[in-house]
């Protein structure tokens, strides 16, 4: 037997099953017992070293995990007051690769006095966490998500075409700052950047009044956003115990900046977005959060809205069944 990889491979090639079958069987049996008896070690959701990144409201998480979220949102947009309840379930296939499915139900009160309710389009996604640095409290992921056209109600704005979004995610804690800046170490940022490509360039509808076709172009847009976080958990556990008790010792102050820039069609160059200052509380199995939504301009909203998050860590709740990767 050799400890060198290449030589080990060659040794494998020379294995005679008949001669060594008993040894191999014992080795496999020992390995199986080890797998069953010795606890499988894995890093929990959203950790990079000692940094815990919480799930945030509107800006997608940069990590892969087994989780279930419910997000409530209310905002007075330019043409309607929109109340939305979104659910999202994420499941790891292997430790660094996960898939997700999301759906939302909307109620809109339009400025003309009418209202509408219905489901939005189904959203599917896949994400691969390709780099995690414990030392630098950093993690990076690539993914792709798709809003499946025609699966939601057009009366609440669900489009008949799909939108595909290749996405880059990142998270970085400031725990590697020098000792003189130790009270800045609880800061962290996360972010996301994703172009959104519609699968149809335009919608054509017949206008009975003019007798001509109306053409509505579907723009390509760029989603970009980031969060700035200050973790009281981190402060209390790794920097300075300032005597925070429950529930403050498990809180993280989060401000989100979810933005979208239109890249084509009539809206080209225009930005919409909100600034969402809020706070999350992270327990062992769940997370709660609440934030304000402050529109950055009139295209984004007319008054301050609200966000509320309820989140379950499925990997902590059910670590040996539905909470672990399908192929651990």
């Amino acid at each position: 037997m050799s400890l060198f990889k290449g030589e080990a491979m060659r040794d494998c090639g020379r294995t005679n099953w008949g001669k060594n079958g008993l040894v191999v069987t014992i080795a496999l049996g020992f390995a199986l017992v080890c797998m069953l008896v010795i606890p499988v070690s894995s890093w929990a959701h959203g950790f990079a070293g000692k940094r815990f990144f919480p799930t945030t409201f509107k800006v997608e998480d940069p990590f892969v995990s087994d989780e279930f979220s419910i997000l409530f949102s209310h905002l007075k947009e330019p043409d309607a007051k929109t109340t939305e309840i979104g659910i999202d379930y994420s499941k790891r296939i292997i430790p660094n690769l996960g898939i997700s499915i999301g759906e939302s139900y909307l109620h809109q009160d339009f400025t003309d006095g009418s209202s509408a309710s219905g489901f939005g389009n189904l959203e599917l996604g896949a994400k691969y966490q390709f780099l995690t640095s414990a030392e630098h409290e950093a993690l990076f992921s690539l993914g792709v998500s798709a809003e499946i056209g025609g699966t939601g109600a057009t009366r609440v704005g669900a489009e008949s075409f799909s939108v595909v979004s290749p996405t880059f995610y990142f998270g970085k804690g400031f725990g590697d700052l020098p000792e003189s800046l130790k009270f800045l170490r609880p800061f962290a940022i996360t972010g996301v950047i994703a172009p959104n490509f519609p699968t149809r360039n335009s919608n054509v509808t017949f206008n009975e009044d003019t007798g001509e076709n109306d053409i509505e172009r579907n723009p390509t847009t760029l989603t970009w956003g980031f969060t700035l976080q200050y973790s009281l958990m981190y402060l209390q556990s790794f920097v300075k115990d300032i005597g925070l008790g429950t529930p403050f010792s498990r809180m993280i102050i989060v401000t989100e900046f979810p933005m979208e820039t239109c890249l084509s069609a009539d809206c080209k160059g225009k930005i919409t977005g909100t600034v969402n200052p809020g706070i999350v509380w992270c327990g062992k199995y769940m997370e709660f959060g609440i934030a304000a939504q402050i529109p950055i301009n009139e295209r984004s909203g007319k008054s301050v809205g609200i966000l509320a998050l309820f989140h379950l860590f499925i990997d902590d709740l059910f670590p040996k069944s539905i909470g672990k990767p399908i192929f651990p």
Partner: protein, 109 residues
Amino acid sequence: MFLCILSNTCMGHAFPDHSDPKVGATISASPERVRIWFDGALEPAFSTIMVHNAEGKMVDKRDGRVNPSDPTLLEVSVPQLPAGNYHVFWNVLARDGHRTMGDYTFVIK
């Protein structure tokens, strides 16, 4: 699911609850032990704690362990330590297999 949450029968990753000496504390005399209490039970065989001095030299008595009567307590003995800065490193495995790690400093004046 909610029964599971409320009854605390599930085991999530372990996170420090409090410690002695406290994180970032300045104390007047050497402690006998460095102790960290976690919010969940630890796997003794896969949980470690070390204390280094300002030069990076390990100064604990190398007897770090999970307390047999309290599986949430990770502790290590230290000799009479002189004044200086000390750095505690810990790495634990919760009963559910999730690993967490961390470190903090304290000062003896």
